[in-house]
Amino acid sequence: MISFDKVSKQYISGQCALASVSFEIDKGQMAFVTGHSGAGKSTLLKLVLATEKCSSGHVVVNGTDLNHIRKREIPFFRRRIGMVFQDHQLLNDRSVADNVALPLDISGFSRSDARRRVRAALDKVGLLGKEKQFPAALSGGEQQRVGIARAVVNRPSIILADEPTGNLDPELSMETMEVFEQFKNVGVSLLIASHDISLINRMDCRTLILNGGALIGDTGHGELS
């Protein structure tokens, strides 16, 4: 689960990305984060992934206080989080299967075990036939889905997604959301940054609204307005 307690983030340049943001996401909860560009959505995700450290307040993820996490603990911390990047971030010199298998390879899975899981993950996103292809041969939407498969292959306890439906048509977007729902139902916490308002409305899900770094709305199961 994810817990933000009066978290602020100010960059060295003086830019204030987040201002005293507080919220909690439990197990089996899914929440959107929305707001205009620069409102702080990406910063929020970066803080959860321990890519950045907050300037004040506490970020507690999976029971770990990220103010006190040591540098060499971070890789192991990140293995329990599945991250879907905005620009998919695939390795271009590896096949789709190898890309999806990356988290498993890092964690020391054997090839045969990994292969099963990779197939299952690709099946979930509807790309089972494209295992052996290389990212360059896929469409933008397909690359995005490979990224999602990679994020879920290691059965993380938290899934973070930065504009996961950016390249996808409405039908594929809904299918992706269905995959996320499945994970929600087995106890995974999900935090999805998106400015796809129509999708958010369709999903009717808890939504955190950011404006200029401040949390101005927390609809759904949240606490405030």
Binding site: T51, R72, P75, M83, Q89, L102, P103, I106, S107
Partner: protein, 283 residues
């Protein structure tokens, strides 16, 4: 794992060249030391004894000298023996027959060992100070010089070895750095997905080890080639000095040492460089 065949080849050649220099010096010096040991028999110090010493006293002195740790052998030659061998030498028999008294002194011929050879001057001075010794004649100055040069070469080889070590670290470290920089984006992704530094570094360590190994093998090939071309002239020289010594073409020990050192240095240099630059990639 490789940049391009051309730049990889250049790196391997650079590594081979760097390894070759101390290796050649070392091999050269090993040969000189072996030669020295052989020529050691030709090195002599002759002690001409004073007139008033008796044969038995002289023999005792000779035996005492044997106990020194700088001396291999000490042979006493009485003045009668000296006169006899003098007369047997070409054309001197008549002159000797005409002599009234034996003008030749008794002598002790000393063969110093290798340790004695290095400190020949001091040895000669010590011997000169003995009351029974009238004159010290030191032979084979050139051998002494050779021994001194040999020591100098060892020193140079060691210093060069150290410089080479630094050069190799730089060459391989730089190569690894380039490889890492090339894969910067990839490394970022792997870090974000939870890869540790050692996971990321592993392929680069193999790169360093491989380059080092190839460099070492090339170095031994080059060294064998150099030995091959020097072989005939050198063996000729050894022959002229009545030595049975011949230059070895390719000692397996040399090949293994060079390959192993190359691989080891390559691996170590890669470790230092890889962790440094992987660390520098921020996330």
């Amino acid at each position: 794992m490789f940049f391009s065949p051309l730049s990889s080849t250049m790196t391997v050649i650079a590594i081979a060249g760097a390894l070759l220099l101390p290796s050649l010096l070392f091999a050269f010096n090993t040969n000189i030391t072996t030669l020295l040991a052989e020529f050691q028999n030709n090195a002599r110090i002759v002690l001409y004894l004073t007139r008033d010493i008796s044969d038995s006293q002289a023999l005792e002195v000779s035996n005492n000298l044997l106990t020194s740790n700088a001396i291999d052998s000490a042979d006493f030659i009485s003045n009668e023996e000296a006169l006899l061998s003098f007369s047997e030498a070409a054309g001197f028999s008549q002159i000797v027959a005409d002599l009234e008294a034996n003008p030749l002194p008794a002598s002790i011929v000393i063969t110093p060992n290798l340790a004695g050879l290095a400190g020949l001057d001091q040895l000669a001075v010590r011997l000169d100070q003995m009351p029974e010794v009238e004159l010290v004649q030191v032979d084979s100055l050139w051998l002494r010089r050779l021994a001194a040069i040999s020591e100098l070469i060892v020193l140079a080889a060691r210093a060069l070895g150290l410089i080479v070590l630094l050069c190799l670290c730089f060459i391989i470290g730089n190569t690894v750095r380039s490889h890492i920089e090339n894969r910067r984006d990839e490394i970022k992704i792997i870090k974000l997905v939870g890869g540790t530094h050692s996971y990321i570094a592993r392929p680069f360590l193999y790169t360093g080890l491989f380059y080092g190994l190839l460099g070492g093998l090339l170095a031994s090939l080059l060294q064998a080639t150099i030995f091959l071309s020097f072989r005939d002239p050198l063996n000729e020289i050894f022959n002229l000095y009545d030595s049975s010594f011949t230059l070895p073409l390719l000692a397996p020990a040399m090949l293994i040492t060079l390959a192993f050192s190359g691989a080891l240095i390559g691996w170590l240099a890669a470790i230092i460089s890889a962790y440094r630059y992987i660390n520098a990639i921020s996330t």
